[in-house]
Amino acid sequence: MTISRKCVPFTPFERELSKSTIAIVTAGGVHLKDQEGFNIADELGDLTYREIPADVDSADLMVTHHHYDHRDADEDINVVFPIDVLRDLHAEGFIGGIAKKHIGYMGYTMQLKAMYEGTAREIANDIDKASRADAVVLTGG
């Protein structure tokens, strides 16, 4: 399917939040400390992404990104990747569940077409097939 460059690809949401599973996809360069960091040496950017499991300890996450000041995220990853906040909302019954898989990538690239047509599509497929999310929260840096 070709995505129109002119229209907004809007998908309706017709569920109750309290019965919905939510995933986080961040362009803030978030990944597990034991995963390979993003390649910040390449001026063209890094088109890869990292999968973050639902049961991750937020202390095991870090940021590799050289196009924003991530000192606050280093102190509290929830300012760009709100996994503990999502857990709080789940505990309160505001949302129904936390998706099995979340995604971090480095939202800086000079390869826009490859990001748009490649990485973004792969992430969408991954979220669709493996995370069982009903909706996704997107964050940048």
Binding site: L17, D72, E75, D76, V79, V85, L89, G140
Partner: protein
């Protein structure tokens, strides 16, 4: 391809608008790197995330960001602007 409903939290609304997000929240005056607020401000972070998720069920205008003010954030920052071609 099946669509997935999304909501974006952006601190650069002009920049994000170029990608025409279906739903977006701009927490006014938050700086880059503080999408949900400042470190440790869990109540504020929860409020921002709740507001963003609630946009999923609201009649927002696709492509435009909804701006919400959070005075408890404190010092405000000017978001980056998109350079217009002359």
């Amino acid at each position: 391809m099946k669509g997935i409903p999304t909501v974006l939290i952006t601190v650069s609304p002009e920049v994000s608008a170029q990608m025409r997000p279906p739903r977006a929240l701009y927490p006014k005056g938050f700086k880059i790197g503080n999408s949900l607020g400042r470190p440790g401000m869990r109540d504020l972070q929860k409020k921002v995330l709740r507001d963003a998720l609630e946009l999923l069920n609201q009649n927002t205008r696709p492509g435009a960001a909804v701006t919400i003010e959070y005075p408890e954030y404190g010092e405000q920052y000017e978001p980056p602007h998109v350079k217009k071609l002359s």
